[in-house]
Each structure stands twice: as structure tokens, then as C-alpha cells.
Symmetry: C2
Amino acid sequence: MSTGRPKVWINGRLAERIDALDRGLQYGDGIFETMRLCDSRIRLLEFHLQRLRAGLARLNIQLPANIRTELSQVAARHADGVLKLIVTRGVGPRGYRPDRAARPTRVLSFEHMPVQGQSAALPARVRVCSIKLGQNPALAGLKTLNRLESVLARSEWSHAGIWEGLMRDEDDNFVSGTMSNLFVRRRSVLLTPSLHSCGVAGVMRRWVIKTAPTLKLRVVVGRVRWADIGSAEEVFMSNAIVGVKSVRSCEWRQQRRSAHFQNFTVAEQLRLRLCRL
Amino acid sequence: MSTGRPKVWINGRLAERIDALDRGLQYGDGIFETMRLCDSRIRLLEFHLQRLRAGLARLNIQLPANIRTELSQVAARHADGVLKLIVTRGVGPRGYRPDRAARPTRVLSFEHMPVQGQSAALPARVRVCSIKLGQNPALAGLKTLNRLESVLARSEWSHAGIWEGLMRDEDDNFVSGTMSNLFVRRRSVLLTPSLHSCGVAGVMRRWVIKTAPTLKLRVVVGRVRWADIGSAEEVFMSNAIVGVKSVRSCEWRQQRRSAHFQNFTVAEQLRLRLCRL
């Protein structure tokens, strides 16, 4: 839970409301980025901007020209917190067909860091969700406004002790958490799910993939099955806000399976690196 | 194209803007219905209300109490046009987890009937889209605000002579149009795609399925392959606004295939029935 209402800027102006005919609301026709602000700096800003640019290009939405300036102005005025940027295709007539004349809408919001129910450094309990991720290569990897699968997955549990839920595709491959990416380590091999057909390619995932080789790890991007989780030495999740979160147990109630982990060394090394960013 | 800006009521009050923190925008966390208003009456109102209720129940969003009254009040003040109702989970804190305290938001809009590029009675040209529908039984059939697949499919063509695009699932089963449902007739058998894993279960589709037996047709809900389209006597599409639209040709450029139809009899009979509703 966060404290109070976030500050919101719509197309660069402090505002609370957006046009009800915006395609972001009508069809989820847009992209978003959730960014961690530390000491007035946006962590992994370049990765966020690159993903935003790539996502908007895939949806054929024009990149607003002044995004970087706008982000840095808001960052300069706040020390720590969460910045969320939504870019939609803008207001248009009814109907799915994108209107070429539409001008993208920017919704930027700032809020203070949420008070964690548990320390970020404390290894987490995670569970396996029932709802699965639909596969669609055209949208895979993008952080679009179509997030109902994550909403339904996150509503499967309310126990405050469970930090995250793991989501599978239709073939029972593990893809990600509802709000984070998954890493599974066995010896010096760090396995993370391929996101070619579903899932969101997190910026923190990208950073972990880039950083792991400097920790003498070999990163494999591929299929992740339950057997990989069950036989792992270490499991952790990544997310732009939380960073790298160790996992101490994973429960799959439907299948009466569980896995427990006592090794948190690589996640700890990554957290130390992250502090120096 | 419609004429002018639609009138919008948010939670029963004439308004143009919605809270930017509404989960409808943030995550596409909601449902919508698009309804045809004829002579101040909403066509297939009960089907719309039933689908809305079922959809909100699947998403665990509370059904607003006064929807029926609100719809009939707006209907009474307008003769003909399109009514669109969005119900979202409402405003909530950041994060996918639904807030139980959130109160649903209603966005109702009215606009005059769009001027058709071609007569509604004229048989249409349709094409096969490249983008496919992701499969997810948990959301299949629902008209949720997560509509990016339809947006991308509809952006595949701009030729005004092409009325609709057909969408397939990952296994190349034909599922629906971007904004309509598909019916394929051979003799007295009317085949329409099963929507158990993707697609939107249109209210006009429901009406056709209910009405067809009175025209001595046997309705089969199942897999629809290209061979079914290629060997059909008659093909038509259904949609709450347009009604029943005959298809005269279907092009699948990628595969260099096409199918042509000269029989429009059942669609014509259905259109006559629809006039009497």
C-alpha cells in the first residue's frame, strides 16, 4: 500500500483525469513503464526508454518527443519513489482501427515507495497460479495495458506472506511471476524463461542477463519446467521496483508439490551490484 | 466515421474525463458492451445485460446496481445510434491486486450511427489477418478491455472495400472477425467457431444460434478450418451494431487462397427476422 494519491501529469500538465474516449481505456491500446527513482535518478533509465521505444514501434504508436526531458524534470523534483509512465495511442473514434491522426497520450505518475509488507532483502514465498498466460508472439515481451491475466493471477491469493505467483503458459512452461521475471540457478547456469510467446521482458531481467556473466554465470534463455525449479540450487525474481528478490519456497498446491531453497548467494551478489548502479 | 464527439456519462453524470488511476486504463481491468439503439429501444438488451453480468462475475467485479435504469433513461432520450457501456473495477492503488474496496466505474457513451462506407445489406469482402488470437480459457468469450489483438489485426489493412478481417488461433482454426462472429453454412448445417479458448461471444452470435433452428438449420459450434470456408455455400458475420452481414469473398493472401460466395439466403432471412425484433 502506498501513502496517498500519486501525483499525475497528463501530457506534461498536472491533472487527475484523462479523456474517457482515450484508446488506452477503450482498448488497452498502449504501453507502460514502471520505474524506480533513487536519489532523483531513474534506475535503468536507458533500458526503460529502449523498451518503451520498441514497444510503441511494435504497436505503431508514435514515440512522444519529449519523454526523456519530462522524466528527468519529474525525477529532479523528487528523491525516491516510483514513476509510472503510460503512453497510449490517444483519443480516437470508436472502432478498433487506429486513427492515423491520433496523437499519443502520456500519463506520468509519481508515488512514494510502497511500505513493504516484508523486508525486500528477506527471501520470499511464492506460489504457482492456476490462471495461465495466453500465447501471442505479436505481443510477447511488451508491457502493454492489456494486463487482465496478471490481475486475475494476482487475485488468486490474499495471504500477505506470499510475495508473488508464478505463471505458466498453456504447455506448463513457467514464464514469469505476475509482476516479475524468474531466474533459476543450478551451479553456474542461470536459466530464465524465453519470452517469445508470452510474458513481459522486464528491464531488471535484462540487467540480470547482462550482469550475470560478470559473476561467472552462464545465462540460458529457454524453457523452464517444474523439474528445473524443483532441482534448482537458487531461485530469484526480478522487477524494476524491487530489484532482485530471493525465493525461499515455491508451492504448487494443485499438484501437491513444493520446493525449498536455502542458497541466496547469486541474488545477494546481484543486489550488491544493483546498489552501485 | 461518426459525426462529432459522442456524449459520455461517467457514473451517471455527463462528463468527458475519467480518473487516470482507474484500473480500466491502467490494466484494461473491465468489460464493455456495444449496443444498437433503434427507435429508443436497445436491441438484444437482455442478452447484453446477461453477458455483462457473466463477464463481471468472471472478473469478480461488482455489477453496478442501476445499469438497466441508466441505459433505459439514455435510450429514451435518443432515437437511433450506438450505446457503449464500459464497466471497470474502478480506481485503486498501483499493482495488479484488485482492491476489494474499489467501486466499479461506469462509462456510458452515445453516438449517432456511423455513416457506412457501404450499404449494410451489400455482401462484404473479408480477408484473413496475420495476427492470431492468443488462447486463454479464463478470458475466452468475454468482451474485456484487453483488445490489442483486435487493434493490431484491424490495422493490417486500410482498403475501404474490405469490411472485416478473420482471425485464427495458434492452430489455424478460424475464430472470429476483429469485431464480429463468423458463420459458415453448407446445406442445412450452420457452423460457427467454438469460443472456449479465445474470441468474444457476441450477443448477435447468440441470437443467430437461437434463431437458426427456426429456419430449419442445425447449428454446430466447433472447429472451423479453411476447408470449411472454402467449401461453404454461404458465409456471414454477426455483430450487435451491424446485425448479420453477408460475405461475398474471403481472401487469404499469405496462402494465395480465396473463396467466393453467391448465396446470401440465410443471412437475408436472418436480417428480415432482425427487423422485427
